[in-house]
């Protein structure tokens, strides 16, 4: 089967090559997105910006119009799980729509951070359609200075 020349495979090789170039230019950010795959947004909702500071992680989730009561954030060691629901305009009959671009529905998103979180001190606020999470690292995850005994 593989003996035939497959143009799609060639395209895939090209795409990976382009991704590699982008990843080498922006090692943390844009390199995580793939060059020709717009469907990523359909798989991961909400979109997240994650900042890592010495003592904490800060996550901003781009999530307009969420139902406040459905919003749930759980933290387990270094794994943060966000779930909730974006309400649809259910009281409008489908034939009355001229345009329908906004998505709606239930979602769950899990992110793994590279440090353990102190669950008790986590703070989550939802304002202006952005869910803001403040996740202090647990004492065990903080860098420790070790004094060197010189003999």
């Amino acid at each position: 089967m593989d003996s035939y020349w497959n143009p799609f495979q060639e395209l895939e090789v090209l795409r990976r090559g382009i991704d590699d170039v982008f990843a080498s230019v922006w090692p943390t950010g844009a390199g995580r997105t793939s060059a020709f795959l717009p469907g990523r947004s359909a798989r991961s909702y909400p979109l997240l910006n994650i900042a890592a500071r010495d003592d904490r992680f800060v996550i901003d989730a781009f999530a307009p119009g969420l139902d406040k009561d459905s919003l749930e954030v759980t933290v387990d060691r270094n794994v943060v799980r966000i779930s909730g629901e974006k309400r649809d305009l259910t009281d409008v009959a489908p034939e009355r729509f001229h345009r329908r671009e906004r998505a709606a529905g239930r979602f769950t998103r899990t992110v793994q951070l590279d440090g353990e979180i102190d669950e008790k001190r986590v703070e989550a606020t939802y304002a202006d359609g952005i869910l803001h999470l403040d996740l202090p690292k647990s004492a065990a995850a903080l860098p420790r200075k070790i004094s060197v005994a010189v003999k």
Partner: protein, 132 residues
Amino acid sequence: MAENTVTRGNLPVHDEGEQRPATRQRSLFLTPAVDIYESKDGLVVVADVPGLKREDLDITVEENVLTIHGRMSREEPEPLQAREYTLHDYFRQFTLGDRVDRDKIHATLEHGVLTLKLPHAEHAKPKRIAVK
């Protein structure tokens, strides 16, 4: 109601007196996703504009063009480890029909969702004509 194609030359000019930093060039805009539907009193436009506060929004009707412009004042958390979105100003324009009463447009913003109510003008409402 049709969407207006925006050429960059038409964009509103900020009279802030100073040049914006290169990362916030005027040409970079997010296009908010919208739902438009017909209610019993008129059109309703619902737009997702997360990150905006009420004072960041600038909604204007000029000639027959409705412009939604949101200035992003929110900052991104620093230093970023992973980026999946970039904050920019929001911009979108629509052409209004004659049926919209321009003086009665009503806007609300809640949790990053902008709702614009565009009521029908009096002359566009259905009228019953009595037969004599």
